[in-house]
Amino acid sequence: MTPQITAFCHIKKNQVFLNGKSIFSAGSEVDMREFVKSAFRNTGTKYPKFFKMDDYSKLGFLAAEVLMKEVDESTIEDKSTGIVLSNNHSTLTTDQLFQDSIQSDEAFFPSPSVFVYTLPNIMAGEIAIRHHITGENAFFVSSAFDPDWHTLYINQLFESKKVSACLSGWVEMDDQSLDAFVYYVEEANDQRDESMQHTVEKLNNLYKINDK
């Protein structure tokens, strides 16, 4: 049976949406990085480490934080919950930041706390620590959010019994804009809404649901 999407979160244009409804926003004059920080404070979660993360991890972590409030975490079988994420730029903004610190021999100050964030799966690691998720991990890079690949890969993980739930999505950012669409998929269950099956069409619809 096709697994089902049980919650989804969008973050873009200085707005946070949960299951399609706006739950937090800031004016367009607010810098997107400041917006991410205030949206995180708004979740009520106290997690000082958040403020030490790079911009990509902050965005992915925020999206996961909003999403996981919808999931009864006591029901998570941590060993069989996966995290599968993707984006376009890998960690390019953070890569540039690290490169600036090593560009010349005169101003050579490489920092391990910047370097570690030049791997996109660190975001998954941060989410895994916060929500005690120890199952399958994968990070993919593509030119745009790819529902075809996400459904192929994740449904196969379910079929081969490697996961019973999966936090998945697209966490993208460049110098000008950000776009996160993170969702939770669980094993199909009779009580669940059948219209929320993890299919290409459904993902396409949900991804665009807040485009107005």
């Binding site: 995290i83 690290f98 021999d105 490489p110 791997l119 895994a128 790819d146 490697k162």
Partner: protein, 380 residues
């Protein structure tokens, strides 16, 4: 339905084919040497680099299309070309897909190179370039999951073959020794002062290496005797720390358990383990704990990183390609750099080549972000 490995290539400091690399590893040769190149790092450092003149020579012979490529792209294209030349597989078929494994791709393009499209700094654009070069009609999927990228890409390829769409997956991976990567690992104080010494009492860090590798996987209903098959694979997260492994080896244990359960083998059936074996204190101790916890301590363990260093996104691919050769010849390779045992839990680490029937083997990998991967190979 089974998935078998039909061809491979390795381009590293120790050669330009799987066979050449295997022979050099059998002799425990070491490709790691001192470099004094201020463009790469302000002071001398150790690394295992690909022979530049030979790379260029091979590129000029191969590149009949007169494409302008970066060093990394040359490595990737040469690696696929050589692996493919030993098969009859049609790379331009819609039934063939390419999976690319890399951590940093063309990261050196942060300083643009004339005549190279700066967009190829983007990993998907790099994938697209490789796909176009070979006229492959499918999107090139890019896996970038720190140091487990290579093993994860192989697991992903096997999973893709379980579906209906593909007959062959070409898994290719590469990473470079760049100023970016050397400075980063230096800042972590994780590089060894000498060629790295996996699992040794006196190990003091890793050595970086550059490499490209290719593995071609095929779906078959009729595996033949002697074929090396993909039997199972899994990944898991420690959920513990982003830049250090778990002290209890939590994620590695889960990944190995799940891979072995998919493969349907018990601990006593594992003939040999090719570990991640970076030669950092924490990694090698962690792996010894995972191996002990799962009752695998009787299986001889080795690491190839003492020979060609840690090749990041290529590591899982070239190490699996070598493990496959090892299984075909029933020979466990030595661990260059290892002399005296010194891990938290006792391991049997091979110093010399060891002849032994190798029917079922385990490949391990771990990386930043708390990620771990395991892969089980089986000989038909």
């Amino acid at each position: 339905m089974a998935v078998r490995f039909v061809s491979s290539n390795i381009i590293s400091s120790l050669g330009f084919s799987t066979e050449e690399n295997f022979q050099n590893l059998l002799l425990a040769k070491v490709g790691i040497q001192t470099f004094n190149d201020p463009l790469l790092y302000p002071s001398p450092f150790l690394a295992a680099c690909i022979h530049q003149a030979e790379l260029e020579e091979r590129w000029n012979e191969t590149n009949q299309k007169v494409v302008i490529a970066t060093r990394l792209e040359k490595m990737l294209i040469l690696s696929i070309t050589e692996a493919l030349s030993k098969t009859k597989i049609d790379i331009s078929s819609s039934r063939t897909a390419i999976l690319l494994s890399t951590t940093k791709g063309n990261i050196d393009l942060l300083n643009p190179i004339e005549s190279i499209d700066p967009e190829r700094l983007l990993l998907w654009k790099l994938g697209e370039f490789i796909g176009h070069y070979f006229g492959n009609p499918n999107p090139v999927r890019v896996v970038t999951n720190a140091c487990i990228s290579g093993v994860l890409a192989i697991n992903t390829a096997a999973m893709m073959l379980k579906g209906e769409r593909f007959d062959h997956i070409i898994v290719v991976g590469a990473d470079l020794v760049t100023r970016f990567v050397v400075s980063g690992f230096m800042s972590f104080l994780s590089l060894s002062q000498t060629p790295c010494k996996p699992f040794d009492r006196d190990r003091d860090g890793l050595s970086l290496g550059e490499a490209a590798g290719t593995l071609i996987l095929e779906k078959t209903s009729f595996p033949e005797k002697g074929d090396i098959l993909f039997a199972g694979g899994a990944t898991a997260n420690d959920a513990n720390h982003i830049s250090g492994p778990s002290r209890t080896a939590e994620g590695s244990v889960i990944a190995i358990q799940n891979a072995m359960s998919e493969a349907g083998f018990a601990a006593k059936e594992i003939d040999h383990i090719n570990a991640h074996g970076t030669a950092t204190r924490y990694n090698d101790d962690m792996e010894s704990i995972a191996i002990q916890r799962l009752g695998l301590s009787e299986s001889p363990v080795n690491s190839y990183k003492g020979s060609w260093g840690h090749t990041l996104g290529a590591a899982g691919i070239i190490e699996t390609a070598t493990l496959i050769e090892s299984m075909k010849t029933d020979t466990i390779l030595p661990t260059a750099g290892f002399h005296t045992p010194g891990t938290t839990e006792k391991l049997i680490v091979t110093k010399e080549p060891l002849s032994k029937p190798l029917n079922t083997c385990l490949k391990l990998a771990s990386g930043f972000g708390g990620c771990n991967a395991a892969l089980v190979l089986n000989k038909k």
